[in-house]
C-alpha cells in the first residue's frame, strides 16, 4: 500500500475562475486510477498541474514521496511522469519514428529495447514508422501518443481522454493496451468521459464535479453506484 502519487489540496485558478478546488487524491503504485467527470470538471487541469504545464495556486503534489510542485515540466518528465495529452497531439510533420524518439528525448541510454516493446504493443506503428504522423488515422495517432509517452520509460503515465473522438472498436483496443501497460508495472492515471469503459478498467476511481471531488471508491463500487449510474453511465434510476 504505497502511493506513487499523492495530491493534497490542489487548487488551480485561471483568473477569477477556480478550475480545481482543493482536490486531494492518491494513486497507488501499480494500479489504474481514473478521474471521471463532465466537461469542465477540472480533470485535464489536474493532470496538467501534475505534469507542470499549469502552475497551481495552492496545494502539494508528491511523487514517490517528493514534492514535484513548482518543478518545470522537463524535470517532472525526468522523474518518471509522462502525459498522453488530450486530443493526441502527435507531431504531424515528424515521422512516426521521430515522434517516438522525441518521447525518449531526456534519455541518454539505448532505445532499441523500448522501441521493440512499443512496436510489439502497436505493430501498426512499425509498419508506418517512416510515415508522417499527421497522415495517420485518429486511432493510430492515439497509439503513437501512447507509444511516445512509453518511450520515456515512465513510472506513472497520465492519459487525458484517450478515447476522445475514436470509434468504439478502437476505444476497446486502447483500453486493452492500457491494461497491458499496467500489467507491465506502469501506474496509470486515466482521465475519461467514457465512464463506462474507464470504471470497468480502473482499480480505483474519483468523480470530479466543478473542480471538487464528490465521490470516490473502487472501480466496481462506483460502477454500481446509483448516482454515478444516472449522471455518467446514462442509466435511469428504476
Amino acid at each position: 500500500m504505497s502511493n506513487l502519487l499523492e495530491i493534497r489540496n490542489l487548487t488551480v485558478r485561471f483568473g477569477g475562475i477556480c478550475a480545481v478546488d482543493h482536490v486531494s487524491l492518491d494513486v497507488e503504485k501499480g494500479k489504474i486510477v481514473t478521474l471521471i467527470g463532465a466537461n469542465g470538471a477540472g480533470k485535464s487541469t489536474t493532470l496538467r498541474a501534475v505534469s507542470g504545464i499549469v502552475k497551481p495556486t495552492e496545494g502539494e503534489i508528491l511523487f514517490d514521496g517528493e514534492n514535484i510542485l513548482g518543478l518545470s515540466p522537463d524535470k517532472i518528465v525526468a522523474r518518471g511522469v509522462t502525459m498522453v495529452p488530450e486530443g493526441r497531439r502527435v507531431f504531424p510533420n515528424l515521422t512516426v519514428l521521430e515522434n517516438l524518439k522525441i518521447g525518449a528525448y531526456l534519455r541518454k541510454d539505448n532505445l532499441t529495447d523500448d522501441m521493440e516493446y512499443v512496436y510489439s504493443l502497436f505493430p501498426r506503428l512499425k509498419e508506418r514508422s517512416w510515415q508522417l504522423a499527421g497522415t495517420l488515422s485518429g486511432g493510430e495517432q492515439q497509439m503513437l501518443a501512447v507509444g511516445r509517452a512509453l518511450m520515456a520509460k515512465p513510472k506513472l503515465i497520465m492519459m487525458d481522454e484517450p478515447s476522445l473522438g475514436l470509434a468504439p472498436l478502437v476505444v476497446r483496443n486502447i483500453f486493452e493496451i492500457i491494461r497491458t501497460i499496467n500489467d507491465a508495472g506502469i501506474t496509470v492515471l486515466l482521465n475519461e468521459q467514457n465512464a463506462n469503459m474507464a470504471l470497468k478498467a480502473a482499480d480505483f476511481g474519483y468523480v470530479l464535479e466543478t473542480g471538487r471531488i464528490t465521490l470516490s471508491g473502487t472501480g466496481a463500487a462506483l460502477y454500481a453506484d446509483e448516482g454515478v449510474k444516472e449522471a455518467y453511465l446514462g442509466k435511469r434510476k428504476e
Binding site: 504545464i53 518545470s72 518528465v77 507531431f91 515528424l94 521521430e98 522525441i102 528525448y105
Partner: protein, 359 residues
C-alpha cells in the same frame, strides 16, 4: 559490412558528390571566367544570402519562431568582421573623423569570421531572454524593432572610434575568389544540416509542430528556443561578414528591413523547412534580380529604331514581382516544400523509369 555502410549513407554520399561537383564548377568559373564576368558579383551574393536564408530557415522553418531580426544580426557580423580586419596602417585613414580606431590590431579572416558570429550570438542571447517569451507576430515585431535599434545605435557619433559612426568602413580584407565564399557558406550550411539532423534538431521540429506536446515530452521550451535563436544568429552574423566582404564596404544604412524581407522571400520561395530549397532559391533570386532580368531595366530599341514599350529603369522589379507571385500561387509550399534534394533518389527514379520502359 561495406555494403551496409553504402546502404546507410548512400544519400549523403551522393549529395556530397553533387556538392564537390558544384565546388569544382565554382573553382572553374573562378579561374576561367573573365574578371568582368557577372558570375563573380552574383555568385558572391548568392553564397552570402544562401547562408543567411538557411540560418533564417533554422529558426523560422525548423523551430517555428517567426523572427525578423536577420538584418540586425548581419549588421553586427558585418561590422565586427570589418572592424577586426582593417590593416593597422590603414586604420587612421578609415577612422579619420574620429581621431583613431579603438582597436589597433588586425585579425586573419577565419578568426574574424568567428568573432562576427560570436558577437551576433551574444546579442541574440541577450535579446532572446525577454523576446523569446513572445509568440508568432509579436516575436516578429520585437525582433524587427531590435534590428532597427542596432542600425540606429551603430550610427551614433559616440561610438565613432569603434564603428566609424555614420561613415562607411572600408579598406578591410575582402577576398576576391568566389571559392572562398563557397567554402565559408558551405561549411556553415553543413554545420546547420548536422544540427537539424541531430536530437536537438528533432526537438526544434517538435516545438514547431506542437509546443504543448513538446513541453509534455520533457523538452525545455525556453532553453531550446534560446539555443535555436543563438545558433541561427551566429550563422547570420557570419553571413553578414560575408556581405561585408562582397561589398568591400560596410555601412549601416544598407542593413534595412527590406534586406530581412529579401531573405524571408528566399526562404519562402525555397520552402519553409527545406535547406536545399533555401540554397536553390538564393541562387534563382539573386541571379535573376541582379543579372538575368537586368536587361529589362535598359531602354531598348528595335532594329527600326523604335523604343520597346515598358522596358526602362525599374521595370525589372515589376517582372520580378510577377514571377514571385506565380511561384507563390503555384508552389504553395515553395519550390522544395519541406523536402530535401537527394541525388540518389533522383537517379534511382530516373533509372527505374527507364527500366520499366525497357520491359
Amino acid at each position: 559490412m561495406k555494403e551496409t555502410f553504402w546502404e546507410k549513407n548512400k544519400r549523403a554520399i551522393c549529395n556530397l558528390a553533387l556538392v564537390l561537383v558544384l565546388l569544382a564548377a565554382v573553382i572553374a568559373i573562378d579561374l576561367l571566367a573573365p574578371t568582368t564576368s557577372m558570375w563573380f558579383s552574383v555568385l558572391r551574393k548568392v553564397f552570402t544570402f544562401a547562408l543567411a536564408a538557411v540560418s533564417m530557415n533554422l529558426l523560422n522553418g525548423f523551430t517555428g519562431l517567426f523572427s525578423l531580426g536577420q538584418a540586425g544580426f548581419m549588421l553586427l557580423g558585418a561590422y565586427t568582421y570589418a572592424i577586426f580586419t582593417i590593416p593597422v596602417e590603414l586604420r587612421a585613414s578609415v577612422f579619420r573623423n574620429y581621431g583613431a580606431s579603438l582597436i589597433q590590431f588586425q585579425m586573419p579572416i577565419v578568426p574574424a569570421l568567428l568573432c562576427a558570429g560570436i558577437v551576433a550570438a551574444v546579442f541574440a542571447f541577450l535579446i532572446g531572454l525577454p523576446v523569446l517569451r513572445l509568440k508568432s507576430d509579436y516575436l516578429a515585431i520585437a525582433t524587427l524593432g531590435f534590428a532597427e535599434i542596432v542600425r540606429g545605435l551603430v550610427q551614433l557619433q559616440n561610438f565613432g572610434p569603434l564603428t566609424n559612426g555614420p561613415d562607411p568602413i572600408n579598406k578591410f580584407t575582402a577576398p576576391e575568389h568566389i571559392w572562398i565564399y563557397a567554402l565559408i557558406a558551405g561549411t556553415c550550411i553543413l554545420l546547420i544540416i548536422l544540427i537539424v539532423n541531430s536530437t536537438y534538431g528533432r526537438a526544434f521540429k517538435a516545438i514547431r509542430d506542437d509546443e504543448i506536446a513538446a513541453e509534455a515530452m520533457g523538452i525545455n521550451l525556453a532553453s531550446h528556443k534560446q539555443l535555436s535563436f543563438i545558433t541561427s544568429s551566429f550563422f547570420c552574423g557570419i553571413a553578414g561578414a560575408m556581405l561585408a566582404m562582397c561589398n568591400s564596404s560596410v555601412s549601416s544604412v544598407s542593413f534595412t528591413t527590406s534586406m530581412t524581407y529579401q531573405i524571408l522571400l528566399v526562404v519562402v520561395i525555397g520552402g519553409i523547412g527545406s535547406i536545399s530549397g533555401s540554397m536553390i532559391a538564393a541562387f534563382i533570386y539573386y541571379a535573376s534580380s541582379e543579372w538575368w532580368l537586368k536587361f529589362l531595366d535598359l531602354e531598348t530599341y528595335t532594329a527600326a529604331g523604335a523604343r520597346v514599350p515598358l522596358l526602362g529603369p525599374g521595370f525589372r522589379m515589376v517582372v520580378f514581382s510577377v514571377l514571385i507571385m506565380i511561384v507563390v500561387l503555384f508552389f504553395r509550399t515553395g519550390i522544395m516544400g519541406t523536402r530535401e534534394i537527394s541525388v540518389y533518389d533522383f537517379f534511382a527514379k530516373l533509372f527505374s523509369k527507364k527500366g520499366g520502359a525497357a520491359k
